[in-house]
């Protein structure tokens, strides 16, 4: 980050009008995406997925199976991309890294006492370092929502900055858990804090709280990324996670990205979907586009 960047006063971040945001989102959802643009969009969606398993019952075996799926989405149809990354707990990073060797699929690890973030600074740093040392390419940290709601913005800022330092070369995604932050004004504020603190990506949710990602929340974050980009020249990525399970909805998100941030963000370097069941719905739509008919869901592997 350039040393010239001035950190703004986070108590006075720009205000957001919820009704206006919802109206803008409604416009994105009426875009009609057909034929070759639909196919192009769906392939983009596949390549942007962070295929995720974050459960207490995860085992090495389950992670290995998911990793194979990540690199072989649907081999019956040639020319499909792989997903961008798999997203797992730190304890599974080693297994995933091994399983994905040579595939180009990255390994993302959640950290900092995911999903609640209710732990000490030392444990969060150790959690992050453990994942990075095991080969994680990306770290998905959670912020301390309690501290944020207390108005302790410096705490949140410093925590992100120190995790970023612990990440080393790994790219840092900062999860806000927007479902706990209540207002769009808060989401704008926390987006600014995270980006100025060094986040490479900002991410909506853990997937453990409802609501998870929504289009209005994502739009507020995309607009924050845009303002930050104009202010600093640095691109920050966006990852909505949780609740995006259909191809139609995913395409509407891409429309929103395209019309808010433009072409440069339409790649998995700058945009991701955190999802577990989205891939198969997209694959079904691609098969339908190719053959003209819908196929049974039994033709699509579930790993």
């Amino acid at each position: 980050m350039s040393t010239k960047t001035t950190i703004p006063d986070f108590r006075v971040t720009p205000s957001i009008d919820q009704v206006g945001i919802e109206e803008r989102v409604a416009r994105f959802t009426t875009r009609s995406i057909k034929k070759e643009s639909k196919m192009q969009g769906m392939k983009m969606v596949l390549s942007m997925i962070d295929l995720t398993t974050l459960e207490g019952k995860d085992t090495e075996g389950k992670v290995q199976q998911m990793c194979y799926k990540a690199a072989h989405l649907h081999d019956v149809i040639p020319g499909l991309p792989t997903v961008a990354a798999v997203c797992v707990y730190p304890s599974m990073v080693k297994t995933a890294k091994e399983a994905l060797k040579g595939t180009g699929v990255k390994v993302a690890s959640v950290s900092t006492a995911f999903p609640s973030g209710q732990s000490t600074h030392e444990i969060k740093i150790a959690d992050t370092k453990f994942a990075v040392d095991n080969g994680a390419d990306e770290i998905d940290m959670v912020i301390s929502r309690g501290e944020f709601l207390k108005g302790n913005y410096n705490f949140v800022f410093d925590e992100i900055a120190s995790i970023k330092e612990a990440c080393g070369k790994a790219r840092l995604k900062v999860i806000f858990e927007t479902g706990e932050l209540s207002t769009l004004d808060n989401i704008r504020k926390v987006s600014d804090i995270a980006m100025y603190a060094g986040a490479d990506f900002i991410k909506t949710s853990t997937g453990k709280i409802s609501p998870a990602a929504t289009m209005p929340v994502t739009l507020v974050m995309l607009e924050a990324i845009r303002d930050y980009y104009y202010a600093t020249g640095r691109m920050v990525g966006m990852k909505p996670a949780g609740g995006i399970s259909t191809s139609k909805l995913a395409l509407q998100y891409l429309i929103m990205v395209n019309e808010t941030l433009g072409a440069d963000w339409l790649s998995n370097e700058w945009f991701r979907f955190g999802a577990s069941s989205l891939a198969n719905d997209v694959l079904m739509q691609i098969a339908k586009q190719n053959t003209g008919v819908y196929q049974s869901s039994d033709y699509f592997s579930k790993d």
Binding site: D17, R31, S32, E223, N258, G262, A263, L266
Partner: protein
């Protein structure tokens, strides 16, 4: 840090394939007659004129040119129908109006497609705004038909008689609904003339009204140009003139009916101030600027055509506005992704282009989006002018196109003075996060409609109309109902 240009690239990586709305399901006759006394009749002159699709310059149909004799016939039919219709119970009148509303909903798709073909507005707008709102107006006023005594308690409301209604080309079906629905609910009968460039949806509405079983002569729809309108205005047996259109014609109507006891409501031009304060939610305000000036190609009397931005946020708002303009899709109105369609007529396009030239010659700094325009048809790029002042003609005069004049301001007093410093007074917009600021402005802006943190929102329950040279009388809501009653 490496020197990299900080700029967003829109429409570079992912172009949307054309998604045209199907028009095969609509039926448009080769020729339309005049709808008088419940049936379509040939015009006295035997003359017809063509109506064109402004996006392709192709002829769609031709419609009858009504002369004074035809107008007289229509007024006579309306007068003959008035007695029975006005004495019908409000409940029965309401039933007919509800039926019209439901039929519009049933035929919504056909109306939307024809509206777009005949007028050039994007299908997204005719489908999502014009047609549903038109149906809503009939629904709303149908509900009042049997409650006039409650709407105006102890005032003994009575219908006026025959209403002559002349409507513009920017919202052809919607304006017909605004005029016909309250008139019928109040117990009046109607002679309505749509604009000569966009007569088709009004004529389809005539077919729908015939199918609805409304008693003959209650609604008569006749087509023609200015002469036909003049014949309506000057007809001695008309009790009320309701006109929406240009200020010049409005002035002429006022002169023509002076000395008669005709009642009148006029909804005329505008040059609305859209005011952005530094504490406004800026991204949403930019959306409001876009909706304010580019909705319906700027062919909106209440368009937010004068933008006032507080100087402290002017640079950032203008950057955001330019970025947003880049994402607007201009072109085939029938494409479901089109944001800005065709300019309604060649004549209007020339007028807009003339104003763009005037703006350039006056020294305004022009910016247009980089979109390409279709080779055929009447199209205009979304346009903004920076560095202009109240003394520029493009700030003072109504352009009625996608052209925005942007000024900065510094204090509240300054912006109120400048916003009111115009012969018009139809509408205004205020953008701020502070509620008290909104109320301060709404009480000081001389505009019939003031939107706060939104723009171009319409609802049948909300009265609409202007101050000063933007006309008088209200349409919509109870006020709009009262305009068709005597007490």
């Amino acid at each position: 840090m490496s020197k990299k240009e900080v700029k967003l690239k829109f429409n570079a990586a992912w172009d949307l394939a054309p998604a045209p709305e199907d028009s095969k399901h609509v039926s448009i006759k080769k020729q339309y007659d005049l709808f008088i006394n419940g049936e379509f009749v040939k015009p006295n002159s035997k003359k017809y004129f063509a109506t064109y699709n402004p996006a392709t310059d192709e002829k769609i149909s031709e419609v009858a040119d009504a002369d004074e004799k035809d107008v007289d016939k229509a007024v006579k039919a309306a007068r003959a129908a008035f007695g029975k219709w006005s004495k019908l119970s409000g409940k029965e009148r309401g039933k007919y109006i509800y039926r019209i509303a439901r039929l519009i909903q049933e035929r919504a798709r056909e109306f939307a497609v024809i509206e777009t073909m005949d007028g050039g507005k994007p299908i997204r707008e005719s489908r999502d705004i014009d047609v549903p709102l038109a149906a809503n107006h009939f629904f709303y006023y149908a509900g009042w038909a049997d409650k006039l005594e409650y709407a105006f308690p102890n005032r003994n409301p009575k219908p006026l008689g025959v209403a002559g209604q002349i409507i513009p080309w920017n919202f052809p079906l919607l304006m017909a609904a605004w005029k016909i629905a309250p008139a019928l609910a109040a117990g009046n009968t109607v002679v309505l003339k749509p604009a000569e460039t966009t007569p088709l949806t009004a004529l389809k509405l005539a077919e729908l009204i015939r199918d609805s079983g409304l008693p003959k002569g209650v609604v008569n729809i006749i087509t023609g140009a200015g002469k036909t309108g003049a014949a309506i205005v000057n007809h001695p047996d008309i009790n009320k003139i309701a006109f929406t259109g240009s200020t010049n014609v409005g002035k002429w109507i006022q002169k023509s009916i002076a000395g008669t006891d005709k009642k009148c409501t006029l909804e005329l031009g505008g040059k609305a101030a859209n005011i952005i304060f530094e504490d406004a939610p800026l991204d949403q305000a930019v959306e409001g600027i876009i909706n304010g000036i580019f909705f319906n190609q700027g062919h909106v009397c209440c368009a937010g055509s004068r933008l006032f931005v507080q100087e402290s946020v002017a640079d950032i708002v203008i950057r955001k506005l330019k970025d947003r303009m880049e994402t607007l899709k201009v072109g085939d109105p029938m494409d479901k992704n089109t944001d800005i369609g065709a300019i309604n007529s060649k004549q209007q396009l020339l007028k807009i282009q003339e104003y763009i030239e005037i703006g350039k010659n006056e020294g305004g700094e022009i910016y247009q989006s980089s979109c390409s325009l279709p080779k055929k048809g009447n199209f205009c790029k979304p346009t903004i002018f920076l560095n202009v002042s109240q003394s520029h003609r493009i700030v003072q005069e109504e352009i009625f196109g996608p052209v925005l004049a942007i000024q900065t301001f510094r204090t509240i007093e300054e912006v109120i003075e400048k916003a009111n410093n115009i012969p018009y007074g139809l509408s205004a917009g205020v953008w701020t996060d502070k509620g008290s600021k909104i109320f301060n402005l709404t009480s000081k802006l001389k505009a019939g409609v003031v939107w706060a943190n939104t723009y171009n929102k319409f609802d049948p329950t909300s009265p609409f109309g202007g101050y000063k040279e933007s006309g008088f009388g209200r349409e919509g809501g109870l006020h709009g109902l009262g305009a068709y009653l005597q007490f």
